[in-house]
Point group: none
Amino acid sequence: MASIKWSFDNERPIYTQIIEQLRQAIASGELCVGERLASVRDMASEAGVNPNTMQRALAELERLGLIYTANRTGGRFITEDGGKVKATRMELARENTAAFLEAMEKIGFSKGEIIRLLENFNLGDDNNE
Amino acid sequence: MASIKWSFDNERPIYTQIIEQLRQAIASGELCVGERLASVRDMASEAGVNPNTMQRALAELERLGLIYTANRTGGRFITEDGGKVKATRMELARENTAAFLEAMEKIGFSKGEIIRLLENFNLGDDNNE
Amino acid sequence: MASIKWSFDNERPIYTQIIEQLRQAIASGELCVGERLASVRDMASEAGVNPNTMQRALAELERLGLIYTANRTGGRFITEDGGKVKATRMELARENTAAFLEAMEKIGFSKGEIIRLLENFNLGDDNNE
Amino acid sequence: MASIKWSFDNERPIYTQIIEQLRQAIASGELCVGERLASVRDMASEAGVNPNTMQRALAELERLGLIYTANRTGGRFITEDGGKVKATRMELARENTAAFLEAMEKIGFSKGEIIRLLENFNLGDDNNE
DNA sequence: GTGGTCTAGACCACT
DNA sequence: GTGGTCTAGACCACG
């Protein structure tokens, strides 16, 4: 039932942000393999977005194979393919890491410095978990 | 001299990307403290964008205090305030790190795992899927 | 409804004057808390300016937190934050007063003289030279 | 010899601001009737502006009759006409007052409130004298 | 030649 | 139909 903590900014398309957050939720196991999703309408209202927007995001995730629509019953489910989930998780991890390293090295941080910084870094310095 | 290697994608507004790339260039020292920038028109043509787009980005950087205009028509310069430059570099580093850590922890990586991953990560891995 | 009486001079940028007049209208309550604004195009045509010019002014007011955009395409509204509106009103009052007092004292009026002048002053004197 | 405290912003033309400040200085008596002005070059360097800019401002003040150029000696002087100076002072006062009152009433302050506000207002709340 | 503003008009993504 | 971005090109005041 794990309901997601949605949060959006106005910088990028909402549906893009929904995709990202759902992809994360699936990769993290917050949404379990095979789990049934709420209806588009319900998810939309929970996220405070237009149903069309939610629909668009889900369609994209379906295209990525992370969720599927059951033929008869008509509900949407997280993929049963545990491998796919794991692969998504590693994919996300590599994307994040590559982007992070590149950005940091561009402003003159060596890998050693980056790791040192990371060790001493406390989330919550400006965020809340 | 220090002419920037511009590169844009279609995901986000160009002017936003210009801001980011200039912010990085300033933070990295690629653009030096007090250095004079090329004219709006020249920078625009170098980056392959419309002068108005470049103008908008520069105006924003000016609002951030990273560059300034001399006497309204004397050209634009990187701020003389070395502290501001350093602060920007650390600000960028913190932003990157916070976003990275948050994203990684959200998909279930502990700090230890993150650091291990980072140590073994070689930029350029992007190609061996 | 509350359609604003626009009036511009050539001394300063139009977008600046739009900002000022909207700020005043918000501070005075002529535009109510939470009220929906007309579309950018409509406001532009009402004010007799190019939509881009109006857009620029509204973007700035948004940066100031006096208006906001609903879901990127839902139209623009005056902030719901009544406190912000009140604060803006007092801010304007202070700005006006400070500038006025400073200018008057610079040309040798004491506070007493200023107040006496003010008491005897009738708007509309502009015409009897 | 009274040397003026110049201060400029980038919002409006520099020469306009020079005119204003000189007009104020004359109206306040900071620059005395008949006093000789420094050379354009000197005034410009003191103010940190381009000589052309200072020249333009002085030409305008000359057009207004507030300063004049001596035929032979070639120096510039403040007008000898004390009445003109007084008139300028009152003109400035009326301009300031009218603009102030109008702006304040537009945001809903009655004359009584304005005067009360003025009495309790201390310059230096955000300025320095 | 510099930055700044403005207009005109097109295009886009989102709801 | 909404806000947002971008281009193109013109014009202006300033230095």
